[in-house]
Amino acid sequence: MPANWKRKRLSDNPATVFLAGGIAAASMLVACNTSSSPTAVDTASANANITALTWGDAKYFNTQFGFYKQDFPSDAKQQTLTVTIGGSNDGEAISKFRLALSSHQNVPDIMEMNYSALPEFASQNQLADISSYIGSYLPAMSNAAKTLMQYNGKYVAFAYEVKSKLWYYRKDMFAAAGIDVTQVKTQQDFIDAGKKLQAKYPKSYMWNLAPNPQAYILGEITSGNGSQVYDKSASKFVVDTNPGIKKAFVAMKDLRNSGVVDTKFDDFTPDWQAALADGTVASVPIASWFSTFLPQYAPNLGGKWGVTVWPEIGGAVGGSEAGGSVFVIPAAAKNKAAAAKFMSDMFMTTKGELELFKAQNLVPNVVQAQSDPSVLNNAYYGADLIKAFQAADKDYKLFPYDPAGIKEISILQNALANYLSSSAADPSTALTAANQQMTAQIGNPYSQ
């Protein structure tokens, strides 16, 4: 036997190497998966460590929990809160949530998401029915909040921001130009008001719509004009035939061509911020959350910006932006009762909502809180903000999102960008392509 037989045997059997590696890898994977799968045990509120999954920053959750401990000590007892940041945006956090549901590991007690993502999880029964937790709190809520909390008639979410459609405008400039916003009711009125504005301020615009406008603008219009992406009864996508979507596309192109809308810059650009401060953009139809941004961009214009409801643009009466922002409790969450109590106390009571208004300038969804002097006498907008918010509440509507809503919005937004940057007046080509893409890539949103 040669002296090097042992080494030869090793090198002659590479399969052994792979076998050993495979066994080691398999062992590791098995070890990773041996922890017990979570059970939906609904523990008592005391001593619970509530877990939350969000995106961006944990400070909002921590602030809310701080108020909860301070204002509702008997409910909070010895509870703690652990916040996980799922990424820099909602899409990344949703991916993390899917991973948690897939692995049955680290399923949070509270998940923050936009309403556009909610149907995917609600339709798969991944969200807890919160009806039993919120019964006594519900009557205090606004119409918009109640609408936002439901999916198919079942309460599955806590409303955070309802994102009502509000129109912010420069009161001083409009007054000087002789524009009465109460008389601006249609899209044509809006364009006519723009012409009046430009007669007085030639370098000012009524809005800004770049060739690739933010997805929320399309959502704000389509949520109020009866648009629909998928017809469940006919089991097919109807983007190419739905009149609402077509109207929204055409409206945005008409506004861009009207001359009263700036077409060179998009929202959340340095140009936009400067334009809001220097009067280049004298009005912005947008959503309620904008109230927290405007004072940052134009700090010296307090009292000069008014707020009212949108005129009818693209045939939309009322509506909302991407639904709104909500908190859900997963069906597999361990501390459902504790999480629901925390959410109910902070987002469904006057005391909790007023704390959040003071800390985050979050417009309250509890009706009684909306008439609190601190809310009525807003330092920047005066009483305009809450009055417009309440007026928008009457026509609050949600876009009929389906379980593939995120993907559909992405395709629809690309179709809009293609249409707006083309010379075509009719959006049919872009809408037909979008419909074909949805059909090919999504199939049936309800059987994902």
């Binding site: 080494r7 495979g22 993907k407 090919a440 890539q441």
Partner: protein, 321 residues
């Protein structure tokens, strides 16, 4: 002639001891069977960390993603077999056609200014004319150190309508919104960021060019241009190939720069179809919970990278031969 035994045929320390007392004592303390087992298992233990992590985090997920590309799957419910439909629907989608054109633009347009510029900078810094190379090297490399997100946000300000570029050049180009200008803004950012990286690559390559060879060429009367073209460039060919392959892979996997620069910063809006890269097909499908489509798009990008790399290797091998 006596040949030195290789590591495989060389006798071990124990074998050299033969049947001495020391050997028998060693055999009692450390029986041959145990030694044999240890010799067998030791190499596997040494490579196990890499092998396990490679299998767990690369090989198995890769195989899984191939399988996944034939399914419709949202990550946590039942997967549905769809055959080649994911690939077919991606290939038929107009978004993909636009994205391929955009990605090709991001690959080829910055390539020449970036690689040639980096090469010339490396030559300049290495030349005897430059006596402040310690200052230039970090300065040129600084953009590469900056996080892509931060760089994109800074360029977003610079390319705004009233930004530095328009003001300096006295033009009114909407770099961030005009569909005709969007991609050029991204190219500017890519060249700015990539220049420092390829500068370092070429500088390392130039250090491998023997000085005596250049001096010999100089003594033979070769001008600076001839020394560059006939001595430096041929010797730098492997480095240039490396730079080309790396640049190709990076360009085909491009995502951050176009989406942050011309997409909606602070929002979830990505780059519009006229500027979106191919990787958007992967990312938007992951975010949308279409993991089968995302996997299919990922494998299409992988095949494209493989093809481009093969072509580049072949072209350079032929040029070298």
């Amino acid at each position: 002639m006596e040949v030195e035994p290789s590591i495989l045929t060389r006798p071990t320390a124990r074998e050299k001891l033969g049947s001495s007392r020391l050997a028998s004592r060693l055999d009692r303390l450390y029986p041959p069977a145990v030694r044999s087992w240890n010799d067998t298992i030791a190499p596997y233990l040494f490579i196990a960390p890499f092998l396990v992590s490679f299998l767990a985090f690369f090989a198995l997920p890769s195989v899984y993603s191939v399988v996944l590309s034939f399914f419709r799957y949202n990550g946590y419910t039942t997967a549905h077999w769809v055959g080649l439909n994911n690939y077919r629907s991606l290939l038929e989608a107009p978004d993909l056609h636009d994205a391929v054109v955009n990605t090709a633009f991001y690959l080829f347009m910055p390539m020449l200014p970036m690689l040639v510029g980096a090469f010339l900078l490396a030559l300049a810094v290495r030349s005897k004319l430059s006596n402040l190379s310690r200052v230039y090297k970090p300065l040129i490399f600084v953009p590469q150190v900056m996080a892509p997100v931060a760089a994109a946000l800074v360029w977003r300000v610079m390319l705004s309508n009233n930004g530095v570029l328009n003001t300096t050049l006295g033009v009114h180009v909407s770099w961030l919104t005009d569909p005709a200008a969007l991609k050029w803004g991204v190219v500017l950012l890519l060249v700015w960021r990539g220049l420092g990286w390829y500068f370092i690559v070429f500088l390392a390559g130039l250090s491998g060019v023997p000085e005596d060879l250049l001096e010999a060429a100089s003594v033979d009367g070769a001008s600076a241009g001839r020394r560059l073209w006939h001595v430096i460039v041929p010797l730098m060919r492997p480095t240039i190939l490396f730079a080309l392959v790396i640049d190709t892979i990076a360009s085909l996997q491009l995502f951050t720069e176009p989406n942050l620069l011309v997409g909606g910063a602070g929002t979830t809006a990505g780059a519009p179809p006229s500027a979106a890269p191919v990787m958007n097909q992967v990312v938007t499908n992951v975010i949308g919970g279409q993991f089968g489509l995302a996997a299919a798009a990922g494998w299409m990008v992988f095949v494209a990278i493989g093809c481009f790399s093969l072509i580049q290797f072949r072209l350079f091998r032929e040029a070298t031969q």
